[in-house]
Amino acid sequence: MKARNGKGAAPGKLRPVFFLLPSLLGTLCFYLLPFLIILVYSFFDDPIRRNYTGFVNYTALLKNHAFSLALKNTMLFLAGAVGSTLLISLLLALALRRLLARSGLIKAALALPLTVPAATIVILVTILLDRYGALNGLIRVIGLKPENWLDGNWARRSMILLYLWKHSGLFTLLLTAALETIPKDEREAALLDGAGKARIFFSIELHHIAPALLFTALAGLFFGFRFFREIGLLFGRYPAEGLYLVQHFMRNVFSLLDYQKLSAGAVLLFLLAALGMGIPALLIRRFGGDGNLLPQRDAPARRKSRFRAGDLLPALILLICALPTLLTLIHALAGEGELRERYAAIWDRRSLDPESVRLLLWPEKLTLESFRVFFSGGGLLRAYGRSLLYTLPAFAVQLPISLCAAWGFARLKGKLRNVLLLLYMILLLLPWEVTLVPNFLIARWLGLLETPWAVWLPSAFSPLPVYLLSKYFQRLPPELREAAELDGAGEWQIFTRISLPNIRPALGSMAFLGFIDLWNMVELPRTLLRQVSLMPLSVTLANIRADAPLGPVFAASLAYLAPPLGLLLLLRPKNLSDQTFIKSADDDSPGRESQNFP
């Protein structure tokens, strides 16, 4: 390896650090420091009295029934949600890969559920799954017994299904991208040898996509923790017992000013995450796995892009993915009176003997009144403007910082890189509730409270894109850099001229995920901006009361979809590189990968 690193290896040791520095400083300030503060808090009786108590908080916490229940439920939920989504996504990827290979638009549609705001999901889920919701209406018509889908034993299952709906499209794309990289000759050789589809899958394909599966599982865990937004909005502080998660525990003990419990819980969660993440991370490093969300290129057209009978499944899946968006559109086109009347049984608690509601599939009278209200300059439109105000600058700064940091990580060698990357990954997974107080303290100390900087700065240094991009940079064959170095290219030139052009597909993926993460921010502005008049649309929608007019909310939700949707459509294959970048586990041959580069 040393020989391959060749010229300039010794002075080059410091170069990655320069690339990493901005991100490291930001992560230190806005992610690591808050965690260190809670680490300190966890050894004191509380942050107000500040008496050192050693491990008392930890022992008390481990004996706390609520915490153990929350931890157990969180693990069960994550295992169920991520596991099932992974499995379904893999099956979908296998079933749809040919179709997906030739249609970027369908790929974009699969990512659609990610763009729907949490508040809109909550309204639609309530309409569908409430005791008097549309699903039970359907069940009654069939003659079956209605269920309480949002309570008791069904609550967790419903949320797992909701998670599945929201993320399976993304996972399918990630896994399809991985499947696309499997060399065709291996499969063809296996076919010639008489291997069946199952044999080919288990012997060849699964082996190839194992790293992507692990990577997707990690992303799944990240989204799993983020999914608390929907659960919190739907169920409040005390959900059904099976859905009482670590975030509920943390929020509730924060309400009791028991910050020491929260701190100790956060540290335990960190250790669990380190343990849980460490193993997959080691496996990923072993396999060198990766994934790419967005379509890289259109496969050669083998046939005309039109549906056949066999395409019914993808059509159905697309319908499921696009259903909330379609419903949002339909509801936005309905009159407020019609919406209220139709869904009275759900929100109007005075209803005496309500029957199940019927889902609005088409309004009695089409009206643009909701859009008129939204665009007439009310609070929702201004919140929309603030969403753009917070997201765009943060996104614009996040991108170069993350790229530099990811390149720095890729160039950094040794255990330090692994430790730092693992740290990034774990910090990424820590729920926002964990670092709520330290983040507030830091923002206050820096004078950022109630200013857009409070949102911009932590967002600009988010570990998510750094972690994702670093995986892509690590895939770059070292020969490329070595060749460039031999030609006298400096580090910056290699980074900008050689490496960046070669990860453009990944850049698209990262851009989309990074944008979505920023666009859907709720906790950060809620804690650090505080004033209602400063909240972005994601928070404003989440704060909408049940008795507020529904039509403008749907119109706002539809407008809310526009930027991520636009980004998704613009990042379709044609503007991305034709290069596919997922290195297979046993694909260590530099010759093969170097074919990918100009």
């Binding site: 509380d46 942050p47 107000i48 706390n64 029934h65 609520a66 229940l69 005791r131 008097y132 309480n148 309570d151 008791g152 409040g236 502080r237 005390y238 059904a240 017992e241 009482y244 509730n252 003990v253 924060f254 309400s255 009791l256 000013l257 028991d258 910050y259 608690r349 209803s351 003997d353 309500p354 007439s376 300059g377 009310g378 609070g379 439109l381 201004r382 929309y384 403007g385 603030r386 753009l388 105000l389 765009l392 709520l436 107080v437 507030f440 303290l441 206050r444 109630e450 200013t451 505080r530 004033q531 209602v532 008049s533 400063l534 526009a562 930027p563 636009g566 613009l570 990042l571 503007n575």
Partner: protein, 714 residues
């Protein structure tokens, strides 16, 4: 690259479109996003204000404005209509007729009445006369000298050259008062015929499409702002806004809770008619019954001691109390710090920004008391044994929290109890859930509270339910017991009986088991129809047939105190003594005597009120403004007279009954906002009563969630 550029263009377009009206803090014509306005160089807060110049004119004021360094006072002098107009020495201009409205422009002054408008130049010469098609309700000039006149649902823009233009408001809005905006154009305080928030709409002569200003609500008393601050508003509670009340004036652009300046301690009487910044000074226009004038306020060097009160409510009684305290204590400045939720307050506390006082309404005081964040008030009270002895003991006892500490204090309160027919409860003065259930089982036609249904019934029972089915200290819960399930079924049955109730509210002889009585006061005027004073209650209830038994309770009396204002002193702030000054002030007899809306905590004051109740009051007539806000603005001074009927005096036995009820009071009335357990049970039962859950499901759910709730505290 092209796509990326296109993407950026789309974003820029969306951003521009979305922020088009959001630039309310930016100069007119720009579309900059809404960002907080920076603090002006001169921070007018937290300082004492003194009157640098005061002018009073023998003038019955119709309308007044101050702008561009000129005072405009419109009214009558010796029965003749006049206009006072000018700088420090305003000239008196005799008018040919009475006008109701005045608007100051940069180089002219506009007068208006009904549909007529006239424009006078600097010398008072009429330069223009117009007749509009509708009556003018209010008018103001924008920074360019254009006049805006508000009618019922439209506006008229009168340009300098006299040309007019009608501007319509969006459907569903009616125009209210107008105000010149500091950043250009005018603000229309439009009231919305439907919906809860009435926005301030912004208009300019160039852009006549009304758009709401961000976060602005319809504050009726406003003044133009300076610089980028759009306007000032001042809090108006009750019928008027006297200077002596120490009203706080807020800069709209600052947000919600920090006043730009307060008029506390000015020691002037009169009603505020307008306020306007004039350089570093403020001009306050005021009127008395037969005079009008202005005050020029200058800040003094001596700063006040700042006290902060954390509030999760915006109760006007508390606000008035704070205003009065500020007015009477110029050395202090008690500032309300309003919080959206408890999490915000917790963050401030954890960050070391502990408020000096805590308003206990909508707050789980026990959480703070348990953490030792609230000072015990007994040591303060024990310094004055006479005062301590003069406070109603049962109220003090009810307010105690952990370990017998008095961590909260209320200057006044409401007494909650229940009355039930003697034919059901006999001579008992208390009852339990089981008593109530057995009475209803024996009398199948009986309703609990007439037509009052599920959740309201639960409200009455909640305290007893919690006592009966949970022991929070030993963490024992019995919500999954058959007894609780049966009790839920019983409540559901009573809900159904209430649904079919068609009888009258004859508490003594009808099919109603109990009525809830909220004695807001002894004899005072009820603030709303839903509650009544003790005297009114006794005149309405047949006490020969009824008995006060309290709420159903397991072992207690069931009489409760509902604190309308509840204050705590935060410990460890270093300002405890100053904070206590506020609480001590609320206990002053002079302050307590003014508390006629609710029951005072001082025994002497209460006894005086009881004595008055014993004497009764003769029939009186009261004159009131039909439109208090319009009266304050001078736009509508129409009055009406009401006759308050005579109230017969109470007998000594009736007065003793009240004293007895007060003695029996124990514990604070809690609701879902202040007690998490209540919130939890309430939420679950809401689903039960709306039919979304069965009693068994509800019971299991409450048991499981309450167990988690208790475990969290373990």
């Amino acid at each position: 690259m092209k796509r990326i550029c296109l993407l950026l263009l789309v974003f820029v377009f969306l951003f521009t479109a979305a922020c088009g009206d959001g630039g309310e803090n930016s100069p007119a014509g720009t579309n900059a996003p809404a960002t907080p306005t920076p603090e002006p160089a001169s921070d007018t807060r937290y300082v004492r204000w003194t009157v640098a110049e005061a002018r009073t004119y023998p003038l019955v004021c119709a309308d007044a404005e101050y702008g561009w360094g000129k005072l405009c006072l419109l009214g009558e002098q010796e029965g003749k209509p006049v206009l006072l107009y000018g700088g420090t020495e305003p000239q008196t201009i005799a008018l040919d007729r009475s006008y109701a409205l005045v608007a100051a422009g940069p180089e002219a002054v506009w007068l208006g009445v009904e549909t007529a408008l006239v424009c006078l130049d600097d010398q008072g010469n009429q330069t223009l006369s117009l007749t509009l098609s509708e009556k003018t309700e209010d008018m103001t000039c924008d920074g360019d000298g254009n006049l805006w006149a508000a009618h019922k649902s439209t506006l008229t823009l009168v340009r300098i050259d006299g040309s007019t233009e009608t501007v319509s408001l969006p459907q569903g809005f009616t125009a209210g008062t107008l105000c010149r905006l500091g950043s250009g154009g005018i603000g229309v305080f439009a009231s919305r015929t439907k919906g809860d928030v009435s926005p301030v709409l912004r208009l300019t002569a160039e852009d006549r499409d009304p758009r709401p200003l961000d976060g602005a609500e319809a504050w009726p008393m406003v003044a133009p702002g300076e610089g980028t601050a759009d306007f000032y508003y001042y809090m108006e509670w009750g019928k008027d806004h006297p200077l002596s009340g120490g009203k706080q004036i807020f800069r709209f652009a600052d947000g919600r809770s920090t006043p730009a300046l307060d008029l506390a301690g000015l020691g002037r009487e009169g009603l505020i008619r307008g306020i306007c910044p004039d350089g570093a000074d403020f001009i306050v226009l005021y009127t008395t019954e037969d005079s009008a004038g202005f005050l020029r306020l200058k800040r003094t060097e001596a700063e006040k001691q700042i006290l902060t009160m954390a509030r999760l409510e915006n109760n006007h009684i508390n606000s008035d109390l704070i205003d009065r305290f500020n007015a009477e204590h110029p050395e202090y400045y008690l500032v309300s710090r309003l919080y959206g939720d408890e999490d915000e307050l917790h963050l401030d506390i954890l960050a070391g920004e502990r408020p000096d006082l805590l308003s206990g309404m909508c707050v789980s005081t026990e959480v703070y008391a348990a953490k030792g964040l609230l000072a015990d008030l007994y040591p303060y009270l024990e310094r004055e044994p006479e005062l301590l002895a003069d406070l109603v003991p049962s109220v003090l006892k009810s307010l105690e929290t952990y370990g017998g500490k008095l961590t909260q204090l209320c200057p006044d309160y409401v007494l909650y109890t229940c009355a039930a027919p003697k034919r059901y409860v006999g001579d008992a003065d208390r009852w339990t859930l089981a008593d109530l259930e057995s009475i209803c089982t024996e009398n199948p036609e009986l309703t609990l509270w007439g037509p009052e249904r599920g959740m309201k019934l639960l409200d009455v029972m909640l305290c007893a339910i919690l006592e009966h089915f949970a022991d929070l200290e030993s963490q024992e819960l019995h919500f999954d017991s058959p007894e609780f399930i049966a009790y839920l079924d019983f409540l559901l049955e009573m809900d159904q009986r209430a649904q079919s109730f068609s009888g009258s509210f004859d508490y003594a002889g009808g099919e109603i088991l109990f009525c809830v009585e909220n004695f807001t006061s002894v004899a005072g005027e009820s603030p709303s129809a839903a509650v009544s004073g003790y005297v009114q209650a006794l005149t309405q209830l047949d006490m020969d047939a009824l008995k006060f038994v309290g709420f159903p309770a397991e072992g207690g009396t069931g009489c409760r105190i509902n604190a309308t204002s509840l204050f705590s002193v935060m410990a460890g702030t270093g300002n405890e003594e100053a904070a206590w000054t506020f609480l001590r002030w609320t206990l002053e007899e002079s302050v307590q005597e003014t508390m006629t809306t609710y029951i005072p905590i001082r025994k002497r004051v209460l006894e005086a009120q009881l004595k008055q109740a014993g004497e009764g009051t003769p029939e009186t007539t009261v004159t009131r403004y039909r439109d208090p806000v319009g009266a304050a603005n001078g736009t509508n001074t129409e009055t009406y007279t009401v006759t308050v009927p005579a109230v017969p005096g109470l007998s000594e036995a009736e007065l003793n009954l009240f004293r007895d009820l007060l003695d029996r009071a124990e514990g604070l009335y809690q609701d879902a906002r202040t007690h998490p357990c209540y919130e939890l049970i309430y939420r679950e039962c809401a689903d039960f009563f709306s039919g979304k859950k069965t009693s068994a499901e509800t019971a299991a759910s409450i048991q499981s969630k309450m167990a988690i709730y208790l475990a969290e505290r373990g």
